[in-house]
Every structure is written in C-alpha cells, then in structure tokens.
C-alpha cells in the first residue's frame, strides 16, 4: 500500500516556510480561517483537503496573489508579506496555480520573456517533462490544456525556486505526463529544494511526499508523516469524521425495468469532441452513472445532450424520436437539462435564489410577458423546500454556500419539472451531508419516473445513487456495470480500459 520514499534527507529543524493562523474572508465566506503550514528545506510537502477546503487559497496567499485577512508568514524565520506574485517569485517562492497562468494571447517565447524566464533551462525542462515538439512561437491559447500545465511547470522550474508550489498540477495530465512530474519533483527535493504539492491522488502523494498538512473548512486539522496506512487518517481528517460505509442508500428502489416503452434517451454512435462512437440508453426512472477518467470527453457528451454543443456524428433519440439540438432551448423543450459541474456556469450570481430557480420559465419567447408572481412563488418555494435550501442569504446567490448554490442549480430543473436531468459532477466541492441529500433527492426523482444521467469523479458515489455505470474510455463506452458490482475497484479498472475481473472481490 502506501510506502514512504527513499532515504530521508537530513532534517533541518528550521522550516524554510512557516505560515500560521492564516485567514481569508471573501465577504461572508471564510475561505481560510486558521490555516498553518510549515515546510522544511528539501521537503516535499503534501497539502490535502476536500474540495473547497482552502488549499488553492492558501497557495495564492503564500505567493502574494491574494492578500490574507490575517495570519503570519515567515520565510527562513523572517516575517514577510508579499504584495504580488512578482515579489514572492523574487523571494524564491514560485507557484503553479490550479488554473493555467500563461497569457493566452502571447506566444510561449513572450510568456517566458514576461516572467524573465531563461529559455534554455525552460526548454530543457519541457523535454524533461516529456514534451518534445514544442514551438516557442505558438500562441498559448492554441496549446492544449495538458501541455499548458507542463509549460507552467517548466517555467516555474526554470526559475530555480527555493519553494515550488504545485496546485493540482497533475489533475489535467495524462498518466505518462503525471509520472514525469512525480520524477521531476523527486529530483527537486533531492537537490535540496522544497515542494508544496496539492493533489487528490494518493498514489502521487505516497510516491514522493514526506509529510502532509490536512485542511478542513479553511483550518489546518493535522500534519502527518507519510507512511504506510496514513491514507485512512488523512481521509478522516479531511472529512472530519470516520467515513461510514453509507452503502445501499436507496439504490434498491430501482423502478427501471418496470417501465415499458422506448428508453427516455437513446444515444447512438455519437461522436463529439474526444468521443468517437458512444452508444447507450437511459431508461425512464433510471439514474445512470457515467464514469470516466479526467478528460475522456464526458463533458462533451453532457454538453451535446444538453444542446450546448453540436455532435459531429451519431443520433440522439428522446422517447424514441430522433432529435437534433441547435441550442439548449431545444434540449430543454425535449425535457433534457444540464446541471454543469461548475456552479459559476449555471448561476446568476448577483440575482436572487428565486430568479435563479425561475429562470427557465422565462426563457421561451411566449413567456416574455408578465410573470405570474404568485404561481412563481409557489413553484419556487416548493422547490426550495424540497431541496431544503438554506435561504438566509437568498437575495444574491453569490452569498450562499457552495452546497446551497449547487442545490439551486438542481432546484431550477425540479421546479421546471424537467424529465431528464444531466448532472455533471454535481457534488463537486460539496459537504457530505449535502451530498447525501442530493443522492436521496435524485433517487426520489427516479422513483417518480424522472431520469438522471450522472457523471461523477468520485467513484464511490456510483453505488450511492446509480442504477448502472456507463464507463467511457478512449472515446467509446467500454463497459456498462450493474450497480451491484460497480465498486471503486471495478470502476477504476474499467475506467482505465482494463477488462472486468471475472470473480467478484471477496
């Protein structure tokens, strides 16, 4: 299982970076309240925490991209506060942020010049990281995302940082490139440089980190040495409680098979984006899970079904009739609606909960007239109650908590009585309790004959909500697993395109 890496470096007692009591408020939202992090020279230090725990915020504060609301940061024992990333860079702290930071309209050479990065070492690192055909004249915008991430890293490495901060550097990378990153990070630490490493992948943590700091709700809740068996501890700390095996929540209540007639949605030989040839069916009253590794084209699939993107080949049938969507409005008319993974893509952040939920009602031209306010209030209130949305800050959705925001995006379609909801990683960045509520809600909907297509990046969710799991790999559906056998291990194998193991795990 987990093993600690090689021989320990001589441990100096003086940390190179020491942050204590760091806090950051965004209005009413406390992204960080009391975070601390101490990194030793030559150490690879993992920063862990659930989505929204505040990892990225901490990185931004440490590197001067965001001003803290409180706390103290010491570099080599000296208290510092960086006013800009430039200042942090000069002090030897170089980040790779979670989002690409290349200037989109500049070519690579200019991007290097902008950060005064020497070209030779940069090119060296790029090759080292496994990218061989890079043109310095290419405009950053035109470079694929994964390569942009590699360039970000190479640029940071070329600056010869004392402390390198990597925020989910590997998340968007294919496995081979991710491995290269791990190699490179190891060598950094061997050379006596420190690395702060953020990732949700335990394999990577185990492979190279010395210690881990765990954040929960903006607070440091533990610092652990990476050793065998620490994984459980970390997860416990991250979630704040021992994860109960919440098996069999409701998925016994399947009604799929009993519904006669054509499937609610049938996808045949669909090609869109990275997807080459995808076929599956979604029955009435079914929650079908979609499982795929990052970047397999699942987002394109959902967008195509929601009418937000045109497929290049294949057909979509709804209730047995072929449909063609030129606009999400067409899909909505056919009863298909998307709940995107990124809440900021779905919400009118400055508008009220009520307006957000009622938005689809006003969209069609014939509804541009006066609003039936009483009806609207009734519909919206019903939806709010059904999802138990905390509406204390309902005048502006941006003041709601993330979980409540996510509920609003779902409530919208429940109020509109949309028959098929396409949920794309709806529980991303949501606390455990809210997650449960969402599972329950979706099962309830299925029980009433609604259909749900459910993509999740957290594999154990499949067994909480889904009736089946459709696994996509390499542009195709490689497997459809019944929920009984769709545990994490089986799904992971399938997601990597490996064949099913014949016998069920003991």
């Amino acid at each position: 299982m987990l093993e600690t890496t090689g021989a320990k470096k001589p441990v100096t007692t003086n940390p190179i970076l020491d942050a204590t009591g760091v806090a950051k408020n965004y209005g009413a939202v406390a992204a960080l309240r009391n975070a601390s992090l101490s990194v030793l020279p030559g150490e690879v230090h993992a920063l862990m925490g659930a989505n929204g725990a505040g990892k990225s915020t901490l990185v931004k504060i440490l590197t001067g991209a965001v001003r803290p609301s409180g706390g103290r940061i010491q570099i080599r024992g000296e208290t510092r506060e960086f006013s800009s990333p430039g200042a942090a860079r000069r002090a030897g702290l170089v980040p790779v942020y979670q989002e690409p930071s290349l200037i989109p309209d500049l070519d690579i050479a200019s991007n290097l010049r902008l950060t005064r990065t020497p070209v030779e070492p940069f090119a060296e690192w790029v090759r080292e990281l496994g990218v061989n055909d890079l043109s310095l004249g290419a405009t950053a915008r035109d470079v694929p995302l994964a390569i942009q991430r590699v360039l970000d890293l190479a640029r940071a490495l070329a600056a010869e940082p004392h402390v390198l901060l990597l925020d989910e550097m590997t998340a968007a990378l294919p496995a081979d490139l991710a491995e290269r990153v791990v190699d490179v990070v190891r060598r950094q630490s061997a050379a006596g440089r420190s690395v702060i490493f953020i990732s949700h992948r335990f394999v990577e943590i185990a492979a190279m980190c010395d210690r881990a700091t765990v954040l929960r709700d903006g607070e440091t809740v533990g610092v652990l040495k990476i050793e065998t068996g620490v994984e459980e501890r970390i997860v416990e700390l991250m979630l704040g409680a021992k994860i109960e095996k919440a098996r069999g929540v409701t998925h016994g209540a399947r009604s799929t098979a009993t519904v006669a007639g054509p499937p609610r949605v049938a996808v045949r030989n669909l090609a869109v984006g990275k997807l080459q040839d995808v076929s599956f069916e979604l029955a009435n009253g079914e929650v079908a899970g979609v499982v795929a590794l990052e970047g397999q084209g699942q987002d394109e699939l959902f967008e195509a079904l929601a009418g937000a993107r045109k497929p290049s080949a294949g057909t979509i049938e709804v209730d047995g009739a072929a449909v063609r969507f030129a606009h999400p409005a067409d899909a909505i008319r056919a009863g298909l609606a998307l709940v995107p993974g990124d809440r900021s893509e779905a919400l009118l952040m400055h508008r009220s909960v009520r307006e957000n939920i009622a938005l689809p009602f006003s969209a069609p031209f014939r509804r541009w007239g006066p609003i039936a306010l009483r009806k609207e209030r009734a519909t919206v209130t019903a939806a709010i109650e059904r999802l138990q949305i905390d509406t204390r800050a309902q005048r502006e959705v941006q003041r709601l908590s993330g979980g409540n925001q996510q509920k609003v995006t779902i409530a919208r379609w429940i109020a509109a009585e949309t028959r098929t909801i396409l949920c794309f990683d709806p529980t991303r960045g949501i606390d455990v309790r809210t997650k449960r509520e969402i599972y329950r809600l979706l099962r309830e909907l299925a029980g009433q004959g609604f259909s749900v297509l459910y993509y999740t990046s957290e594999l154990e969710e499949v067994q909480h909500v889904c009736d089946r799991a459709i696994v996509i790999f390499g542009g195709r559906v490689v497997d459809v697993l019944p929920v009984e056998i769709a545990d994490e291990a089986a799904l992971t194998r399938a997601a990597y395109g490996l064949p099913r193991q014949s016998e069920v795990a003991p």
Binding site: A65, I103, G137
Partner: protein
Amino acid sequence: MIRLIRRNAWVAGLCVLFILLAVTTKLIQPDYGAGDFGSLMRAVLPYAFAVAAQTVVVIAGGIDLSVAAMMAVTSVTAAAMMNGASESHALFVVPFVLALGLCLGALNGFLIVWTRVPDIVVTLSTLFVFQGVALLILDAPGGGAAEWLKGLVVGTVPIPFLPESVTAWIPKALIVLVICLAVVWIPLRRSQLGLSIYAIGSSELAAFRSGVSVARTKIAAYAIGGLFAAMGGLSLTLSTGIGAPIPGPYLLASVAAVVLGGVALGGGKGGLLGPIIAVIVLRLVRTDLTLLAVDPNATTIIEGLIMVIVVMLGAFLAMRGRTR
C-alpha cells in the same frame, strides 16, 4: 501560427484596400499627384495619433473616451504658449506639451486603478474634465504656432540617394508621423513594458500571476495613450496654426479605426500598423468622395457602413473559426 497569419492577413487586406482606393483616386482625378498625397497625409496626422493613442489603451484591455479631449487640451496649451512667443520658445513648448499629455493619460490610468471604477466611466468623466480644462485655457479657438513647427508638415525633404520624383511622394507629414510613432512604438514593443501591456490586455489575472504589476502597467498604457494624444494635439496646432478648445471628431474615429485595424476590443491582440492604415483608408475615402463631388455627409454614411460591415464580417469569420 494561424493567429499570426490571420493578423497579418488583416493588415494585408487593409493594404490591398488602400491600393484599390489609390488607383480609384487616380482614375477619378488623373491630375492627382504627390502634392495631393501630401495633403492627404496632413489630414491623416491628427487621426493617426488619435488612433495610436486608442490602440495602446485598447491593447491593454481598456478604452479611452477622453482621447479627443486630451488632444484639445494639449492643442490649446501649445497654441496659447506659442502665441506671440519667439520661434525658439517652441523648442520648449513641444516637450512640455508632450509631457502634459503623458501626465493626463497617466491621470486616467491612475484614476481607473485607484477608484476601481470601470475605464469607460472614468474616461467619460475625464472627457468632461479635460474639455473644461481646454476651455479654461482658451475659451475660443486662437493662439498661434511657431512657423518652423508649421513648416514641419508642409512639403517634402530631399532624402539622400532617392530621386526627387520619389521623395515627392514621401511628404514631410508622413515622415513626421512615422518617426513619432516609431520612436515610441518600436522600443515599446520590444520592452518588458510593452509585453506587460499585451499581457494585462489578454488576461489581467494571468498577467498578475505572472508577476506583472497590473496597476503600474495600466497607468503606463494610458500614459502612452496620452503621449500620442499630445502628439495629435500638437499636429492640430501646427496644421491650423491655432488651438481649438472644443474636441474634434477624433474619439469616434479612433475607436472605429482601432477596430477596422484588427485590434480586438477586449485587448491583448493586434498592433499599430493596422489601425494606422485603416485611418488612412478612411481619409482617402473622404478625398475620393469629395473628388466625386459627393455630399460630404454621404461620407459619414459610408464610413459608418464600412465600419459596421467590416466588423460584422470580422466577427462572422471569428465565429466560423471558433465552431470549426
């Protein structure tokens, strides 16, 4: 790469348009000669500087509604200072006015950074302020200009190794324009500041994270805009010999030419060459219509139509490119 080609294609397209118009001009008026081309370039001067000012700011992701008002301030300042003064006094006036433009522009940038009010609103406010300042300096068109300054844009200069038949087609006004723009623009393009200006225009966040001082860069971009506007103001004074406190039509013209020149509103893209050629094209259109004795107001229609159609076409092509 594709982007590079496309950008150059835009400029090339403008050049073709210019050549077509030039040929048309010669067809309409066979007597059209070097002297007339000189007139064209003199008419181009203030517009070209106005559009240069706007271009820098737009590339930095902003917009400057006070361009014409800054031109008015600098123009009347120059005219008032040179009024009745000795010829050599102008030697002092020119750098002073350029510095003034730089300061006015920097003030715009500073207010945008400091108040966090959107740039459109800030420069809308300073548009009124600068207009007022111009009126306080001269409440009516007037003042004067040194003769040698006026002479700066009239006629031609002999250029070594070039026959007169060639230099006749290189009027001083063109030379002044090219030198003034090049002296600022070429070093800027190559400098870290120039890069930073493109960077903040392309993505303020990414630029900030790349260590660019967004505030300082923005102020600098507006300041350079102000410098170009001051050149425009000076060019007005030295072509009319007076300063006029009410701003001319340079704001709308500058925005139009920036867009026609292939610089995207929103920033981060484009160069100076396209907008300058666009401005020349627009002036030549007016000349041609005058030669044809067309109502000058029809020129307004045609300028508007060119703008609308070209921009729609550009947007349409961009859209096609995106869906591919």
